[in-house]
Structure formats: structure tokens, C-alpha cells
């Protein structure tokens, strides 16, 4: 019995050794928001090119930026673009730069629970900023009711729920509020977690926020669009920069990226919240791969470039099944040009 076990173990060991030898292994780490689509992509790409195995650890955007800067992974991923200090830190350490490549789009949507109200609510930027600043405290505040003619809103206190864990969703949400409210920008600002006004509740991850909203009467919170779609949660429309109330869906988020594409900087570090476009959903964002501009290992470089090329073409067809919005054509062609910078 023991001998058989030993022989089996040796066979597996040898097999694993040879498999590991033949396959080029590439490691990445970062944002957890795009992890489902990344896993799918890396899996599909491995089927297409069995010599390349891409491993991804969803350790969070902050961790992704840190790891790629330290050089412990081949590429990083983040829901928020790296800031100038972080880019400089990378440049100083390695002597070359790190490039941003948008992969898919995400969005944050307002979800609420008001007893007796089943209608889909409309939110103006002023109403959202006021509610989350704890300035608007009652559901029947004129700032809310004016945009919701025909809906009777109660005079109850609003309970605000936000994400307690640092997250890209909070980044998108606060980035949007910073754009539409000067008070928000100066008092609170945008980040993966911020100093929320007191008295607001924090829920862990989308599940936590959704759970709190579902359980707490007269509450409002924000969750990822994907989470809301997959869990069939009701959520509100938000007024965009053209004055239209838009309900977030895959198309209206892609539209936001298309609207922003005209003024897209060459490094793709751009916020597309409150983007122009008649049907653009205003609380949308890219998520990025962070790829060093120089590789010492040519095989690795070619593999990563090969993957990005595939991701921008065939890979985009996998996005909608997983409820991610795909990139607009303008951005794809721009990225293909930028890919030449990776050497």
C-alpha cells in the first residue's frame, strides 16, 4: 500500500515538474472587482495558448499597485488609476514606466429601501451629494421629490449606508460626488475609503451594503451594477451631464466610456464619471491592467502582449455574459497603439 502511494506520488511529482517546465507562468495581482472576468479570460486564453498560464490574485487595487511597483508580480490591476506620486515611485525604482490598459467597465448604482415605495426613483446629482453629506435628511426633501413627480415619499429620516471596506466602488462613487459637488470635493474627496459624515452605516462588501439596505427601512446605499443585476436588486436612475435620467445598464456604461474617449489622454488615466453623452450613465469607471513598459524576459513580454491583444478583440465577447460593460471601439483601437510601448 505504502509502495503504491510512493510510486503514485512520484509520478504526480514528475508530471507536475514537467508541466510546470513547459508552461510559461505569468503572475498578476490587484483589483477584486474584475476578478470574475479576469479568471474567465485567463482560463480561455490558456485554452487558446496552452503554453501560457496567467495567475491572478484578487488582493485589492492598493495591493496590486504595491506589488507591481515592488516587482513581485508581472502585472498589476486597479480600479482607480495610479496617481502621479505612485507613477514616479515606479519610475524611480525601475528606470522605466508602468502603463495603464483599460479592460472592462464598471458602475455604481444607488439602491434604496423605502417602505411603500415601489417606483424607480430619479436622483439628481444635488440630491445624491446632499443625502451622502447628511444635508438632506428626509425622503420628502424637495431636492428628491422635485425629480420624482407622482411618487409619494414619506417624511422619514434617511439612513445612509456605505461600503466599510476599501473598494473601487467607493472610489467611483466618491469620484462622481466630487465632480458634481464642490462641498464634497473639499470636505470629503475621493478615495477607496473616505471619512464619511457621522451616523452613516457601513456594510462589508456589496453583500453587506445590500443586506443593510434590505433590512433597514428608509435607507439608501450604493452597490456595483454587476451585483445589482445579478441579484435583481431595484436601483435608481441618475441624472447625467446632458440632463437625462439614466438607468445604469451595460450599454449606458459603455456609452459613458465612448463619451469620454474623445478627450482620452494617451496614458488612459481618466475618470469617466459624469461623462458627456446623451445616454451615458454618469457613475461609471474603467478598471485597468498595470503593465510595466519594459520586460527583461522577452517570452513574458510577448505572452502579456499577446493576451492584451486577444483580450481587446475576442476577449471582449465574454464580458456581457458576466455583466461587465465592454470597451467602446475608440478605446480598443487606442489601446492597440499603446501596446507597442511595451518592450
Amino acid at each position: 500500500m505504502k509502495r503504491i502511494a510512493a510510486i503514485l506520488l512520484m509520478t504526480f511529482g514528475l508530471a507536475a515538474f514537467f508541466v510546470a517546465r513547459a508552461v510559461l507562468s505569468i503572475n498578476g495581482a490587484g483589483a477584486s472587482f474584475p476578478e470574475p472576468i479576469y479568471s474567465k479570460w485567463f482560463d480561455e486564453y490558456h485554452k487558446k495558448d496552452p503554453n501560457v498560464q496567467i495567475n491572478y490574485q484578487a488582493i485589492g487595487s492598493g495591493g496590486g499597485i504595491k506589488q507591481v511597483t515592488e516587482g513581485t508580480v508581472d502585472f498589476g490591476a486597479s480600479d482607480g488609476p495610479m496617481n502621479d506620486d505612485q507613477l514616479k515611485a515606479f519610475q524611480d525604482k525601475h528606470g522605466f514606466s508602468v502603463l495603464h490598459f483599460p479592460t472592462v467597465l464598471g458602475a455604481a448604482v444607488p439602491t434604496y429601501n423605502i417602505p411603500g415605495v415601489t417606483a424607480e426613483l430619479n436622483f439628481t446629482p444635488e440630491a445624491l451629494a446632499g443625502i451622502f453629506l447628511a444635508k438632506i435628511t428626509k425622503w420628502n426633501d424637495p431636492a428628491i421629490t422635485a425629480a420624482n413627480q407622482g411618487v409619494t415619499l414619506p417624511g422619514n429620516d434617511i439612513v445612509v449606508v456605505h461600503r466599510s471596506d476599501g473598494s473601487g466602488t467607493t472610489y467611483i462613487w466618491t469620484d462622481y460626488l466630487s465632480k458634481v459637488s464642490d462641498e464634497w470635493k473639499t470636505k470629503i474627496g475621493k478615495n477607496t475609503s473616505v471619512n464619511w459624515p457621522t451616523g452613516e452605516l457601513g456594510g462589508n462588501k456589496n453583500e453587506g451594503v445590500a443586506g443593510l439596505v434590505k433590512q433597514t427601512p428608509n435607507s439608501i446605499g450604493y452597490v456595483e451594477l454587476i451585483y445589482a443585476i445579478q441579484n435583481k436588486m431595484p436601483y435608481g436612475r441618475v441624472k447625467n451631464s446632458s440632463g437625462q435620467f439614466i438607468k445604469a445598464d451595460l450599454a449606458s456604461v459603455t456609452e459613458a466610456a465612448a463619451g469620454a474617449a474623445k478627450n482620452m489622454p494617451d496614458d488612459f488615466r481618466v475618470s469617466i464619471t459624469n461623462a458627456p453623452g446623451k445616454t451615458a450613465y454618469p457613475i461609471s469607471s474603467f478598471t485597468w491592467l498595470l503593465i510595466p513598459s519594459k520586460f527583461t524576459d522577452a517570452a513574458k513580454r510577448d505572452a502579456i502582449k499577446g493576451f492584451v491583444k486577444w483580450m481587446l478583440a475576442d476577449g471582449q465577447s465574454h464580458t456581457e455574459a458576466l455583466a461587465y460593460s465592454k470597451l467602446p471601439k475608440e478605446v480598443v483601437s487606442k489601446e492597440l497603439t499603446a501596446l507597442d510601448k511595451v518592450q
Binding site: 505612485q86 471619512n195 452605516l201
Partner: protein
């Protein structure tokens, strides 16, 4: 076998006279060194943790100094970090937990050790061990789906109606907050108190009970006045084990505490704890000062545990002296 049985009795008195190599050959010395290494590793790991936490929190220690303990703003955007609300939340939730868990836990342990039949006691012990082994995230889910609605709809309104005049039970009742976190923690630590206290009570020598009964005390008097005081130190130990667990508990607390750094007199108010904010924010924290402030929070938690453990030791020493005097 025969040889060992003859050497064993002589090992004690002669141990000093045998050479190091003799002892090494017998295996005694090897055993001593190996176990010493294991014991030393505990100290080493503790020191290493403190060292790492200390090194990892250079920036905020220099920038904020002791103000870190006094201030209550936690703002990653404006790089202001103060630990006070988190220390407050950790202490309050642990205190609530112990307030509930200690009477319940010790009461249950007394029943199991002294009053229940051995068969019932063993059967219940099985369930208690099972409870102690449940992962904390399960307790968190239990908290969200059962404790929170019950607190919001039943317990908090009832407390408001009866004790609402005290500042402890004021304000809107969301069902989450310090009180709920304390209740969930209490549920989590009760198995520890019961399990350890029961073992301690069972190990009280039989003659203690018999002596009390022989002097004419009732069963309850022998339990409450003789057995429990005899086991006091061990029972205290179980409480401190529970306290340590409550202080460091992360997942279950974060799911029901409300996660908003606030200091409030009302137990209904949402708050935050040290372990919970670290778990929430560390992965996505960007910027050196922010990350290092979270590490310093870890240091604060370590310090808090250390101080409370020291106080606990002191309490045991003081009470056992008093007990000794009373016995004499």
C-alpha cells in the same frame, strides 16, 4: 524495557551527576532542548510581531505621536488618523460581551459540572465544543440575519421603553451597533467560558465537596461556597481567554457593528473596532501614512491585549491572596 524501568527512579536524584552526553544519549537532553526550542519560539514570535508592528508604523508614530490615541478623526483623504473611536469600540463591545457571557457561561458550567448527570454533561459538552469550533464568519451571518432583526424589532424598542431615560439606550435603533456586536461576541465566547470552567470545576477534589456536605451544607451551598471559590483562578482564566477572543474578533464584529468610527454613549449607535477597521481597509489602503496608520492600530490592539492581560494577572494574584487569607 526492564532497563528503563530501573533507571527511571534513579534519574531524579542522579540527574545532576550524569554527564551531558549521557543525558544526550538517553534522549532526555534532546527532549529538553527540543521542547525548550518550542517554548522559546513562542517568545520569539511575540517579539517578532512587536518588532514588525513597531517598524511598520514609523511614519504615523512620528507624525501623530500620542495624539494618535487621543484624536478621533480617521480621514484617508486628508491623512488624519486617530485611533480613539476604534479603541472605544473594541473596549465597549468586549465589555458588553463579557457582561452577558460571564454569568451565562459560569452558570452553565456549574450546572454541567455539579448538577447534571455525567451523561448529560458529556453530551452537552459535545455541543459546546462544536459551538467553539464554528468559524467566526458564520457567527457574523447569524448576527446579520437573526440577531440584527431581533435587536431592531424587539430588544432595542423594549430597552428604549424601559431604560430609555439613560444615555445608554437612546437614539435611532438600526439593529446594528455596539450592543449587537457585544451580543454576537457574547454568543461566540460563551462556549470558551463554559468549556474551560467546566473542566476546572470537575477537577476540584472530591473531598472538598464531601467535607462541605459532611458539615451539613446543602448541595448548592457546597457548590457555591466551596467548589466555585476553589476553582476561582481557573474560572478567571476562562474569562480572560474569552476577553482575548472578544478583543481580537474581526469578521463577526465587522458584519454587525456598523463600521463607522464614532464615540457615542448610546449602545444603539453604530461604531467600529480596531480589528474590524484593519480588516476593512488594509487591502485597499493606498499611501504610506495610511497603511502604516493601520499597522499602528495593530500595535495598539496588541498593547491593549497586553495591558488587559497584565491587569488580569494582577487581579488573580490579588484575589488568590485574599482567598488564602480567608482560608487561613
Amino acid at each position: 524495557m526492564a532497563a528503563t524501568s530501573t533507571t527511571v527512579p534513579s534519574a531524579g536524584p542522579l540527574a545532576g551527576s550524569r554527564s551531558f552526553f549521557d543525558r544526550l544519549r538517553d534522549g532526555d537532553e534532546i527532549a529538553r532542548l527540543v521542547t525548550l526550542l518550542f517554548a522559546a519560539s513562542v517568545v520569539l514570535i511575540t517579539l517578532l510581531i512587536v518588532y514588525e508592528l513597531w517598524q511598520g508604523s514609523v511614519l504615523p508614530r512620528h507624525k501623530f505621536g500620542f495624539a494618535f490615541f487621543r484624536t478621533s478623526v480617521w480621514d484617508p483623504n486628508f491623512e488624519q488618523f486617530g485611533a480613539l473611536p476604534f479603541i472605544f469600540g473594541t473596549l465597549v463591545t468586549s465589555a458588553v460581551a463579557l457582561l452577558i457571557a460571564v454569568p451565562l457561561g459560569i452558570g452553565a458550567a456549574i450546572f454541567l459540572a455539579e448538577l447534571a448527570t455525567a451523561r448529560l454533561s458529556d453530551a452537552l459538552e459535545f455541543f459546546i465544543d462544536l459551538l467553539a469550533a464554528v468559524p467566526s464568519v458564520i457567527y457574523g451571518l447569524l448576527g446579520i440575519f437573526i440577531v440584527v432583526p431581533v435587536m431592531r424589532d424587539v430588544i432595542q424598542p423594549a430597552l428604549k421603553n424601559t431604560l430609555g431615560f439613560t444615555p445608554l439606550f437612546k437614539g435611532p435603533a438600526f439593529g446594528i451597533g455596539f450592543l449587537t456586536a457585544g451580543v454576537v461576541l457574547a454568543i461566540m465566547v460563551i462556549p470558551y467560558i463554559i468549556s474551560v470552567s467546566r473542566e476546572i470545576l470537575l477537577s476540584v477534589p472530591r473531598d472538598q465537596r464531601e467535607a462541605a456536605l459532611a458539615l451539613g451544607s446543602t448541595r448548592w451551598e457546597s457548590t457555591w461556597k466551596v467548589v466555585v471559590p476553589f476553582a476561582r483562578t481557573g474560572i478567571m482564566g476562562s474569562i480572560f481567554l474569552a476577553l482575548a477572543r472578544a478583543l481580537g474578533e474581526t469578521m463577526a464584529v465587522t458584519m454587525v457593528i456598523g463600521n463607522t468610527p464614532a464615540i457615542a454613549a448610546s449602545l444603539f449607535s453604530p461604531g467600529d473596532s480596531i480589528a474590524s477597521v484593519i480588516a476593512n481597509q488594509f487591502t485597499e489602503a493606498t499611501g504610506e501614512l495610511y497603511t502604516q496608520s493601520l499597522i499602528e492600530l495593530g500595535l495598539v490592539l496588541f498593547l491593549l491585549t497586553f495591558i488587559l492581560n497584565g491587569l488580569a494577572r494582577l487581579l488573580i494574584v490579588l484575589t488568590s491572596q485574599r482567598g488564602g487569607a480567608a482560608r487561613a
